[in-house]
């Protein structure tokens, strides 16, 4: 859409000349997030420094019926932070400070552009950390984590972002600037905070986040176990959970991913194994001592090849570095891949992994796996080469079959990445019309004019023509899952 000179002037008055990006080269950076399949360049990028400026932007856009697209660090994997119908992209990166650490109340107030890991760095010396740990945490912003309700390896024990957000300062689509929730943990009324978390900017822009801080555990043990088959590893996962042990994290990596990681950074994963489990236990010393012994036994009973406990923090850190950079490393194996984020009930893990292998074989495609096994949250990377005729089509078909299989087992189409434009139509697999209508009406309550991140989160009728342009379906090097 063409924005008028008067509109741009007014926007510039709000954020200042240094707060707007209008050049084509400048806006190019903002045309997609880590999901480069879908691109859409905003007509202008605004970089507010205060909540009041953010509110003024939304009010201006509402008056002129111009789309508003929020963006944090742009590490999303679903095409959430791009502008399919143009409009104003609001980059929150300049609002990146910790506003308050309140240790007696175990919480912190931060601006949305603050990098996730910075908060844990700032609180660690006091004995606390911010539990949600998406693999992108060294670059992704807390506002983005809140807006996508991000997960991460350790949400197996600690829960996802919504479980750690006590309050939000927001600007709704109606232009209201207000605080939802707060430090006091119980309050009468509807839980509006939880609604805005995970809403991907379709209800409101987030201008501050009040997060819960979690006490660092007494101790940590990390177990690495390798297996000759994915099936053995999957059964080990189910057996650990069935034993009543909830590790802090329980991750699986298959042979292809291990190879890619070892060729890349060399994290010390055993080469040649069909699957590796990374199992982290944290809590009271005596508890993790007993549980890690039991976990080692369970791995051995399920035909574990090499089972070892990380000796020290350095070895543990290296194992995690390998895991967190896994998806980027897969770039070594394949020119292109499609990434899935579906979930199955944990007891169905062995079954779905057999299905993943069968689907890959059927379509003659390598499907690499690195995922949050303890939660049943899969991340199959369907590898293909766009230069080979028909491979993309086969990859898409495999992707579709995988999603269907997960839903048939009672799962979900996305466990932590979110919906964005990428998975909007997939919601039709999981929800009936009445369910989607309820959500669409909910959206209208916050955003009466449909200006907030249009085309995202909910499926739209194809005839509506949101105008996004499909591009090369791949992830760039260095994406995190």
């Amino acid at each position: 859409m063409e924005l008028s000179r008067a509109f741009l002037d007014e926007l510039t008055r709000i954020v200042g000349a240094r707060g707007v990006v209008t050049s084509t080269e400048g806006r190019l950076t903002y045309e997609c997030d880590m999901h480069t399949f879908h691109k859409g360049m905003p007509d202008v990028v605004a970089l507010p420094e205060t909540a009041d400026q953010t509110a003024a932007i939304v009010r201006l856009c509402r008056r002129e019926r111009v789309p508003v697209v929020p963006r944090g660090s742009g590490t999303g994997l679903i095409g959430g932070a791009m502008a399919p119908s143009g409009g104003v992209m609001v980059g929150m990166n300049r609002m990146n400070r910790i506003l308050e650490l309140d240790l007696p109340n175990r919480c912190a107030t931060v601006q949305p552009g603050l990098i996730n890991l910075w908060l844990s760095h700032a609180t660690r010396e006091h004995g606390y950390f911010f539990a949600p740990d998406p693999s992108s945490q060294m670059v992704s912003s807390i506002g983005g984590n809140a807006s996508t309700n991000a997960g991460g390896p350790h949400c197996l024990k600690y829960g996802i972002t919504v479980n750690h957000v006590l309050g939000l300062q927001v600007v709704t689509g109606a232009g209201e600037l207000l605080w939802l929730g707060g430090k006091v943990q119980e309050r009468p009324g509807y839980d509006l905070t939880a609604l805005v978390v995970g809403a991907e900017g379709t209800l409101a822009l987030v201008t501050a986040v009040l997060v819960r801080l979690t006490h660092l555990p007494q101790g940590v043990e990390t177990v690495l176990a390798s297996f000759a088959s994915i099936e053995d590893a999957s059964e080990t996962v189910s057996a650990i959970i069935a034993e009543g042990i909830i590790p802090a994290a329980l991750e699986m990596l298959d042979e292809a991913v291990i190879r890619a990681i070892e060729e890349g950074i060399g994290a010390g994963y055993p080469k040649g194994a069909a699957a590796v489990l990374l199992i982290e236990l944290d809590g009271p010393h005596e508890e993790i001592a007993v549980q890690s012994r039991r976990v080692v036994e369970i791995c051995r009973v399920h035909r574990g090849l090499e089972v070892r406990v990380a000796r020290d923090d350095a070895e543990r850190a290296l194992l995690w570095k390998g895991r967190k950079e896994a998806a980027g490393a897969v770039g070594r194996l394949t020119p292109n891949f499609l990434l899935q984020d579906a979930v199955v009930p944990r007891s169905k893990l062995p079954r779905i992994m057999r299905e993943v292998l069968a689907i890959g074989a059927r379509h003659r495609l390598l499907i690499a796996n690195v995922f949050h096994a303890g939660d049943g949250n899969l991340h199959p990377l369907i590898c293909y080469d766009e230069r080979v005729e028909g491979e993309l089509e086969r990859a898409k078909q495999a992707n579709e079959e995988l999603l269907q299989a997960c839903i048939a087992l009672g799962g979900s189409v996305t466990g932590e990445h979110g919906v964005g434009v990428d998975k909007a139509q997939n919601l039709l697999l999981q929800f009936a019309e009445a369910d989607l209508n309820f959500m669409a009406r909910l959206r209208r309550v916050f955003d009466p004019d449909g200006i907030m991140n249009p085309g995202k989160l909910l499926p739209s009728h194809p005839a509506c023509g949101e105008g996004f342009r499909p591009r090369r379906p791949t992830l760039p090097d260095g994406a995190w899952v």
């Binding site: 004995g127 119980e186 839980d191 609604l195 001592a289």
Partner: protein
């Protein structure tokens, strides 16, 4: 055109069966809400019947109050009007439970106790323990966002509810959320239903996150004679790496009513883990308590079940504040009630900043003006609240049981209500801001 009352009685009976419907005034008296008897009572046998009852209610403009065990039927302002009580207790089945998934889908009328019995066979639990709430239904517990001491470790309903099937005011059966532990497909609809008192929809079925029951547990009651010593113990426990399940605070009146060793204040702690960790926690806690001048230490096995009588009574308050301010607020509440010649029995969640209190021998006519109003004003400064959870009708008519809300938030809440229940048939007038 509205149909006649006898025709409506017939229509309701046709949906649920004659034996599950009432329209005779004498039978309806026990189903009164805040003294207002309904014109009909019906108990649906499945969610489809629940949907048809609400379709009928919305077509005829009948005001509906859903209920479970009735334990929290007093919560809320007196209804503006009431025609039909929807009794959900026949919806009591466990629909899906695969222990290996640590997830269960259950109908809303099932009681916490019945679910606990079923989960206990597999050493699993739903970590929601409202004091004295075992006979309460899941739907009621979620709709009122009831919680208990276990929230310190496991969170509240919003952290444990994964999916919900509910019926909208117009009878549309709707699903929100997922049946797996992780899902970010759209808005957090289940969390919208938590604590909404059935004003946006009636909960019919819930999918819940479960936790394993750890192999061992222990409980202790630490008695203190001064606020300073109790506060020191609590603060230091919270700042330590100890991992209690529960960390509750009781005053002397509550201890006496629960038949526990009496001290000015007591801190009740439970720990569950492997036996070795429970034992070492016990030692650490006792050491900390001694450092803070503890007067008595009692092993508290079975303590939590015994606490229910502490909060019994016709007048109950729930105070929410910043975590570290719980003791000062408790003192304030005690002093204000004492000035009127009454006493309170108080049970607080020391790690969460929530306090429940039964007000005993209260001079009702002065309570609203001399206790509730001034406390609310002072609590407002830190974003706290004081909810009158249970009170005689006379007192309820003098105040808003929820207190006031910030106008901006209330406006959004009213818009939500208007969107999903434009005719205002779901629990009209009972929720915040007259919703």
């Amino acid at each position: 055109m509205p149909v006649s009352a006898p025709a409506l009685s017939e229509a309701i009976a046709a949906i649920v069966g004659r034996e599950h419907a009432l329209h005779d005034p004498s039978g309806l008296a026990p189903h009164a809400v805040d003294g207002l008897p309904p014109r009909w009572w019906a108990s649906p046998g499945d969610i489809e019947q629940l949907g048809r009852l609400l379709t009928l209610a919305s077509m005829e403009g009948l005001a509906v109050t859903p209920r479970g065990s009735g334990a929290a039927l007093d919560l809320g302002n007196p209804p503006r009007r009431l025609d039909l009580v929807l009794d959900c207790r026949r919806l009591d089945r466990v629909l899906e439970y695969v222990p290996e998934d640590l997830v269960a889908s259950v109908q809303a009328g099932a009681s916490l106790a019945s679910l606990e019995a079923r989960l206990g066979q597999h050493r699993q639990q739903l970590a929601l323990d409202p004091i004295g709430g075992a006979s309460r239904t899941l739907g009621g517990v979620l709709a009122t966002n009831a919680s208990g001491p276990l929230r310190f470790r496991y969170g509240t309903a919003r952290d444990l509810l994964l999916g919900v099937r509910f019926v909208q005011a117009d009878g549309t059966v709707t699903w929100g959320g997922a049946k797996v532990v992780k899902s970010v497909t759209g808005y957090e609809v289940p969390k919208l239903m938590v604590g909404a008192l059935g004003t946006l929809g009636v909960i019919g079925e819930v999918t819940l996150r479960l936790h394993p029951v750890p192999p061992a547990s222990g409980g202790w009651l630490f008695g203190f004679e001064t606020e300073t010593s109790a506060a020191g113990f609590v603060t230091e426990t919270l700042a330590s790496t100890l991992q209690p399940d529960r960390l509750s605070l009781l005053n002397d009146v509550a201890l006496r009513r629960a038949a526990q060793p009496v001290s000015r204040l007591a801190v009740a702690v439970s720990v569950s883990s492997v036996p070795e960790a429970v034992a070492s926690h016990g030692e650490s806690l006792e050491k900390l308590a001694r450092q803070h001048g503890v007067r008595s230490i009692t092993s508290g096995e079975g303590l939590w079940q015994a606490l229910a009588p502490a909060l019994d009574g016709p007048l109950a308050l729930r105070l929410a504040c910043e975590i570290g301010r719980l003791l000062p607020w408790l003192g304030q509440l005690e002093a204000r009630v004492a000035r009127l010649g009454g006493r309170i029995a108080a049970l607080g969640e020391a790690g969460n900043g929530v306090l429940r209190a039964a007000v005993l021998e209260p001079p009702l006519e002065r309570l609203a003006g001399e206790v509730v109003a001034p406390l609310r004003e002072e609590l407002g400064a830190e974003g706290g609240s004081l909810v009158v959870e249970r009170a005689p009708l006379g007192l309820k008519k003098e105040l808003d049981v929820w207190g006031s809300m910030s106008p901006g938030q209330l406006d959004i809440m009213r818009r939500l209500k208007h969107e999903f229940d434009p005719a205002g048939i779901l629990n009209p007038g009972r929720f915040v801001g007259g919703i």
